[in-house]
């Protein structure tokens, strides 16, 4: 009954339209848009903050809300990009270029409307990609043993680090650091508590929310304050007409479709998040255009393509997590952690053992995208108002919410202290331009990696060659080697990413 994408999806729709799930999905996408609009607040902090509140919910309901925050943020990010030339969300960097020019030419409404519409089309196409490709991957991964799991995790983690940042050894170091931090607490195979130093709270290990909030909450606040509180001026131009013209659509529909497909493909690869998708789509659009010289001066395709790509990528980002249990970035690592808190081990088994969760979450993405279209076309004035909230008011609110949120995880004040420590560490990471996402990914996957490795070694009686004598495992390791090789010989990718980052220095901190 659940064996094909379509029937699964129909079943999932029944779950997604349950009143509680509809309501929670709505809350999720509204919050997502909100944090997308606000430049200093990212989805990582928001998801960490709301996670404790989902403890009492059904797992599927919790995941629907957290996912809504993520893809909702992609919608909201474009509003800030168009009006303030600041990416509200990382992936909106490229929307700044033409979107803000359009706003300066008095066409802010058309740019905002086009970004909402292309986001919707792309989000829907991206979700369809999840529907069709997820079951395929699950069928491949379902009979993986521990050896294959180890190789798969190595491939996923290497790809996430290498592809996203080029051959960056410090990033690999951050990954190993995350895996090591994950060993704190009770060892599942022997029951021995490691690295607790007599502190009872550490016997249960460090909660990943504590690390995420410390780094992305407190750490970023310090970095933002150091830069100084600049009050951004809103453009005075009134947003009169939110609907793009017929001519805008004639010029953009191909860009939307191309952007959706590029975004879907890029989002599916580990490590290439939404911003890489937007960058690729913008570049392609400029290449195929008859007037590439007009890009950057305010052409509507320059908004449609990257907005389509980042939203499509935000949906297909879920494929590696839902099918293989591999998070492809900091946010997906949080989603993996959220699943584990709710007793669901991310991996190929989720689709068959918890079909209502798997398909309910995917179906909710269709529903959520529809809500977002409505929210972004009709409530744009509200979001513009939100933009006027200064950071100097915002950050004390974030601090208080983080502190209470961390406490509510385990009713432990020690966790708040620990988060303050990770705040300092996270700030140092930002100063050193060390990307924290690999650390978070390593932290979440580390315990699984260790467990699978130990199990493999027990089965193989300590023979390491098992990893290359089993064909699937060998293939995955070969793919890992290829990934490393290509990231070394293709420094082009790295350079283009640098250029993308150069557009706005803020991106490096908020990159999730």
């Amino acid at each position: 009954m659940w064996d094909t994408g379509i029937s699964g999806l129909l079943g999932g729709l029944l779950v997604a339209v349950e009143p509680i799930n509809l309501f929670i999905c709505f809350i999720g996408v509204v919050l997502g848009t909100l944090v997308g609009v606000l430049p200093g607040v990212g989805p990582v902090v928001t998801i960490s903050l709301l996670l404790p509140l989902t403890f009492g919910m059904e797992p599927v309901t919790a995941l629907i809300m957290l996912a809504g925050i993520y893809y909702g943020a992609q919608y909201g990010g474009s509003t800030t990009a168009i009006l303030l030339k600041l990416p509200g969300e990382t992936a909106a960097v490229l929307t700044c270029l033409d979107g803000n020019q359009l706003a300066r030419n008095g066409r802010a409404g058309a740019a905002l409307g086009m970004s909402a519409i292309s986001s919707f089309v792309a989000g829907t196409i991206g979700t369809l990609a999840v529907v069709f490709f997820a079951p395929l991957l699950v069928s491949i991964a379902l009979d993986f043993g521990p050896a294959e799991n180890v190789s798969l995790m190595l491939l996923g983690l290497t790809a996430a680090v290498m592809v996203a940042q080029g051959p960056s050894l410090p990033a690999v170091g951050m990954l190993v650091a995350g895996i090591l931090l994950g060993t704190i607490g009770t060892d599942t195979s022997t029951g021995i508590a490691r690295y607790h130093f007599g502190i009872p709270e550490l016997r249960d290990g460090v909660n990943f929310v504590v690390i995420a909030m410390g780094i992305y909450g407190f750490g970023e606040i310090i970095a933002n304050l150091e830069e100084g509180l600049k009050q951004e001026k809103l453009p005075t131009a009134r947003i009169t007409n939110i609907y793009p013209t017929r001519d805008d659509f004639r010029r953009s529909w191909k860009a939307i479709l191309r952007g959706s497909f590029i975004g879907s493909a890029v989002g599916f690869l580990p490590g290439l998040g939404t911003s890489a998708g937007a960058f690729a789509a913008y570049t392609v659009e400029k290449k195929v255009s008859a007037h590439p010289e007009l890009f950057g001066t305010g052409v509507i395709e320059g908004v449609a393509a990257p907005e389509a790509a980042n939203n499509a990528a935000a949906q297909t980002n879920f494929i590696p997590l839902l099918t293989l249990g591999l998070p492809s970035g900091a946010i997906m690592a949080l989603m993996a952690g959220a699943m584990m808190i709710h007793g669901v081990v991310p991996g190929p088994a989720v689709m068959t053992t918890r079909p209502e969760l798997f398909w309910g979450l995917i179906a909710s993405m269709f529903v959520g995208n529809l809500m977002l279209l409505f929210l972004n076309l009709n409530l744009i004035r509200v979001w513009v108002k939100v933009l006027t909230i200064p950071y100097s008011i915002l950050f004390p609110v974030i601090m208080l919410l983080c502190a209470i949120g961390i406490y509510s995880l385990n009713n432990s004040t020690f966790d708040i202290l620990l988060a303050a420590f990770f705040g300092l560490v996270g700030y140092i990471f930002i100063k050193l331009k060390l990307e924290p996402a690999p650390l978070l990914m390593g932290f979440v996957l580390g315990p699984m990696l260790e467990e699978n490795f130990r199990r493999t070694m027990t089965i193989a009686r300590g023979d390491l060659t098992i990893f290359i004598s089993k064909p699937i495992s060998a293939g995955l390791l070969a793919a890992t080697a290829l990934t490393i090789f290509f990231s070394l010989v293709l420094p082009r990718l790295r350079r283009t990413r640098h250029r993308a980052n150069f557009t706005n220095p803020k991106i490096e901190k908020t990159n999730a």
Binding site: L169, I222, P396, A419, L432
Partner: protein, 168 residues
């Protein structure tokens, strides 16, 4: 990890917030600082992991994975330090005020929460945050602190049922 970040702070913790000024004496390149950080962390896990049984590959003890991982990280740190570009950006100073005020008020919040209750420790946290921003006046403190504390008390212990003490 803690010991390492303090050495780092000492190396770079003086000077003004102006990162443009070239103060060679107290600067450390980003590459070297990253390497120190990773080295400290790796050494920490490798050293303290020796307390636990290592076992063999055939039957791994609880110490094996983190000790090997820690040694790997130490190795990575050395390669980072040796191969990294030394010409990259240097860290010269850390902004003392936001760090102390933000983290200090979070630490104070965690220490006082269970004795003073939320109604008193929340305003303290907000006061600390405003000091950190350097823009807080008594007026903004009251205008922000009072409604925020009320909202927090209403939301967490009352509406969401988080077991939090509200008053001392």
């Amino acid at each position: 990890m803690a010991e390492n970040s303090t050495t780092y702070l000492e190396t770079a913790g003086s000077g003004t917030a102006d990162s443009k000024s070239r103060n060679a004496r107290y600067s450390i390149s980003n590459t070297n600082a990253s390497a120190f950080l990773l080295l400290g962390l790796g050494a920490f896990f490798a050293y303290f992991g020796l307390e636990y049984r290592l076992g063999s590959l055939r039957s791994m003890g609880p110490g094996m994975f983190p000790v090997v991982g820690g040694m790997l990280l130490v190795g990575i740190a050395f390669v980072v330090a040796l191969t990294g570009r030394k010409s990259d950006e240097h860290l010269r100073s850390l902004p003392v005020k936001p760090i102390v005020a933000i983290l200090g008020s979070v630490v104070a919040f965690s220490l006082l929460l269970e004795t003073l209750g939320l109604a008193l420790s929340a305003p303290l946290l907000i006061a600390g945050a405003l000091v950190a921003s350097g823009q807080g006046s008594l007026k903004t403190g009251v205008l922000l602190g009072v409604p925020l504390t009320l909202a927090a008390v209403l939301a967490f212990p009352i509406l969401l049922g988080v077991p939090l003490k509200v008053f001392p």
